[in-house]
């Protein structure tokens, strides 16, 4: 009689050890990382630079896959449907915070757990060197006198230029023709060829062009001049009312399924905090034209909420979207 009892006991103890061990040893195999934007883009560059530092801390391999399309909906949807065991990470940009507003999907980053908000991109409004404008104030004045004449490069509804255009229009009036391109790259190319008059762009996309004198900066989206771009005035010089929206920028973050076990979340948060803070990555980020944030936990959630509320409401007030953020439960900033 005793023998089967022992066996059962042994099995019970063994299974507890196995179950406990599964989490204690995380990560015990490769981690799958999904990038919601295509190869060679800003998100892709940031993630591929950061990943080796994380791999070092976690002592595992992170297999990166680009699942681009639908402003990132496809990649995010994929990660949300995987098992919540911490072996599937989502690397994303700011866009999901606006999905319900744009009618693209029902979910936002509220439906996932933020591991780390890595950093945010600085934004510059750029033009070509032949342009008659030297500051954004001059351009704005011209646009007031000649509405609907200037050509602004855009990347479609929900893209960075359209958001900035909306922010400006919620406090001022900038009536321009929007020419839509497939991304920052084609937009910069059109600006270099003088086919458009100006375009709001992430600093990483234009820093080199400005340094070489192939493009010139009209304003930086911030309340102070940037050390890297001397002589380019802050946008608040032209529109002081924008102050209330700042600081604002497109951001990059790492996310996991909401139901991931807490100790796995903690392991990942710790690893990413160390990796983002590492000298190697910080050097890359500065060179890339980004600003380090390295937020997790409560701070990350706060950043995400604030970003969503500022952006959604300014878009609504500029009539860039039909749905009211109120209906979606996004509080006023």
């Amino acid at each position: 009689m005793t023998k089967p009892l022992f066996t059962q006991l042994a099995i019970a103890i063994g299974s507890i050890a196995v179950a406990g061990g599964a989490f204690a040893d995380y990560p015990e195999r490769n981690i799958q990382g999904t990038i919601q934007w295509g190869a060679g883009g800003a998100t892709d560059n940031v993630v591929r630079s950061l990943t080796p530092h994380v791999e070092e801390v976690l002592d595992t391999t992170i297999v990166l896959t680009n699942r681009a399309g639908g402003t990132g909906v496809i990649g995010m949807n994929h990660v949300m449907r995987q098992r919540p065991d911490g072996y599937n990470l989502l690397f994303g940009a700011e866009n999901p915070q606006l999905y319900p507003l744009m009618g693209l999907a029902e979910f936002t980053y509220d439906d996932m757990h933020p591991i780390n908000i890595i950093g945010q991109g600085l934004v510059v409004i750029a033009t070509h060197p032949e342009s008659e404008f030297d500051t954004f104030a001059e351009l704005l004045e011209y646009a007031h006198e000649n509405p609907g004449e200037l050509k602004m490069g855009g990347t479609g509804a929900g893209g960075l230029p359209s958001t900035i255009h909306a922010m400006i229009n919620s406090v001022d009036d900038l009536d321009v023709r929007t020419v839509t391109f497939g991304g920052d790259g084609p937009g910069v190319t059109a600006l270099l060829g003088e086919h458009i008059d100006f375009m709001p762009l992430s600093l990483s996309a234009v820093a080199e062009q400005i340094r070489a004198g192939r493009l010139k900066g009209l304003a930086v989206l911030g309340s102070e001049e940037l050390a890297d771009l001397p002589g380019v005035p802050p946008i608040t010089d032209a529109i002081p009312e924008l102050e209330s929206f700042l600081p604002w920028g497109p951001f990059w973050g790492v996310f996991v399924h909401e139901d991931t076990p807490d100790d796995v979340k903690a392991t990942l948060e710790d690893a990413y905090e160390q990796a983002v803070a590492s000298d190697g990555f910080q050097e890359f980020l500065t060179n890339f034209g980004g600003e380090s944030l390295n937020l997790n936990g409560e701070e990350a959630q706060q950043y995400l909420d604030n970003w969503q509320s500022v952006t959604a409401w300014s878009m609504f007030e500029a009539d860039a979207v039909e749905k009211s953020p109120e209906e979606l439960g996004i509080p006023r900033p």
Partner: protein, 500 residues
């Protein structure tokens, strides 16, 4: 000057770089030959892999893969009628008929030599004219891309085979497929039927693998009993007089390739289509008709797509702007390695330009070597019994599609296009025009809307723009001449002139 030479020879003299370039080319040929495995993907994986390497080593490997991969697409196009990449679609038109005649070895040999010639011409143009060519490329406004897309639509007459009506139907079908997904301007779903998976559109490689791979495999089931042709592998290296005979065509199509490749909005796939069309129009009496195994039909696209590699590097090295998807990823690699790809790259790190030029030339030499060896083994593929080959092809198609975006939805779409393609084949439709439509549809849509919004949605200003700007006027004139030359109007005009 001596600096330039030392940079140019860097990759040639360093055994490590030499080895990595060779490895890259060899790996690239296989990556390129398998439909679905793309050079873009291989290079992005290499970025993480080579993170801690020295930048030159990483670049040497990537350049090798790029050059090998663009060529590799022709292998399966010739042997199995399944292009390994979109830029090899036209290679299959005459390459596969040659394989059916038992001349696969000769076809691969010729396409290797012509790829290398095209590649070297691309490098030469890159080395000599990069800053000027980049400035020319910047002159292309959205309006001009629209004109290029319209010119591309006219290629339908060269790709449709016997029935032009069927060809036009196929282009329209392809263009519609190309429009599925999120609208670029409004971000609204278009033709997605509410499916979230379709928001990103249908990748044109998915369409290609279905229409060429699966449809071809099904079609071959009709000839199960047919004994495969014994391949003649005695003469693989094309004789000098043959190379010399096709050299002028190769040079002309290489120029097309390098210019189309240098335009940031177009790449090797469109270049090879234009090149095939050019060959068909300029070679009046080929020894064998086009579509039945004309050597000219191999020479043109193979020269052009490899020349486009040199072209794609033009905006990348001079402006820091990508010429195609692969150079976009390479720019990312430079950023991650702490370099600043942009207009200052040539001034601050002058070695980078000449190192790349030298490395590209080296990769092409390796391509000649690797391309001409192992052909005998490769041609055996055609002699494998169908009962083994067809299931293998189907497996490869599924694996290749899945590896694109790790999406099962795309695998289902690919199989769906396979069945559709099989039916279309049964009714005498050609697959080429569908791919033409899929590639050109989004370009037409994008460029037309950009051009219209640039002029404030005024049709008058838009039409005026087509003739006022000198560059646009040239493109418009070409379109008008092609249209006049291909319609009954030509005869009418001709007789009018004669009467006078």
């Amino acid at each position: 000057m001596s600096d330039t030479f030392s940079y140019l020879l860097m990759a040639w003299l360093d055994p490590g770089l030499l080895g990595l370039t060779a490895l890259g080319v060899l790996a690239g040929i296989y990556v390129g030959a398998i439909p679905g495995l793309s050079v873009t993907m291989a290079v992005s994986i290499l970025i993480s892999f080579t993170f801690s390497w020295e930048i030159n080593n990483a670049l040497a490997l990537m350049v090798g893969i790029y050059v090998g991969g663009v060529y590799g697409g022709s292998r399966t196009a010739i042997l199995l009628n399944i292009p390994g990449a979109p830029s090899a679609v036209t290679t299959a038109f005459d390459g596969y008929p040659l394989a059916l005649k038992g001349e696969a070895g000769k076809a691969i040999g010729l396409s290797t030599v012509m790829s290398v010639i095209g590649g070297l011409i691309g490098v030469l143009v890159l080395a000599l004219t990069a800053p000027h060519l980049a400035d020319l490329a910047l002159q292309f406004a959205p309006r001009d891309y629209f004109l290029i897309a319209v010119m591309g639509l006219l290629l339908v007459s060269s790709l449709s085979g016997k029935s032009l009506a069927r060809g036009i139907f196929s282009v329209a079908l392809g263009a519609t497929i190309g429009l599925v997904g999120m609208d670029m301007v409004t971000a609204q779903p278009r033709l997605t039927m509410g499916s979230m998976e379709l928001l990103g559109g249908i990748h044109y490689v998915v369409v290609m693998i279905g229409l060429f791979g699966v449809a071809e495999a099904f079609y071959q089931l009709h000839n199960m009993a047919k004994v495969p042709v014994k391949q003649n592998v005695d003469k693989i290296v094309p004789p000098l007089n043959m190379v010399l005979k096709f050299l002028p065509l190769s040079i002309r199509t290489s120029i097309i390739g390098v210019v189309v490749g240098a335009l940031p909005g177009t790449g090797g796939d469109i270049a090879s289509l234009f090149a095939y069309d050019h060959a068909k129009r300029s070679v009046k009496n080929p020894e064998v008709p086009f579509g039945e195994g004309a050597y000219e039909g191999l020479v043109a696209p193979e020269s052009a797509n490899n020349a486009a590699v040199g072209g794609a590097y033009v905006p990348m090295l001079t402006l820091g702007m990508p010429g195609d998807a692969v150079t976009a990823v390479m720019i990312g690699a430079l950023v991650i390695h702490g370099l600043n790809p942009g207009p200052m790259l040539m001034i601050e790190t002058p070695y980078m330009f000449w190192f790349t030029v030298g490395n590209l030339a080296l990769a092409n030499i390796f391509l000649l070597f690797f391309g001409l060896t192992g052909i005998k083994l490769f041609t055996k593929i055609v002699e494998v019994p169908k009962a083994i080959m067809i299931p293998l092809i189907l497996v490869l198609c599924v694996v290749g599609t899945y590896s694109l975006n790790s999406s099962m939805t795309e695998v289902y779409w690919m199989l769906g296009f396979g069945i559709l393609g099989y039916w279309l084949k049964m009714f005498g439709f050609q697959m080429g025009p569908i791919i033409l439509g899929v590639i050109l549809g989004p370009l037409l849509d994008e460029s037309y809307r950009q051009a219209m919004s640039s002029v404030g949605d005024s049709s008058v200003d838009f039409l005026l723009g087509l003739v006022v700007n000198p560059l646009s006027l040239v493109l418009t004139s070409v379109i008008v001449l092609v249209l006049l030359g291909n319609t009954p109007l030509k005869g009418w005009l001709y007789s009018r002139f004669k009467r006078r």
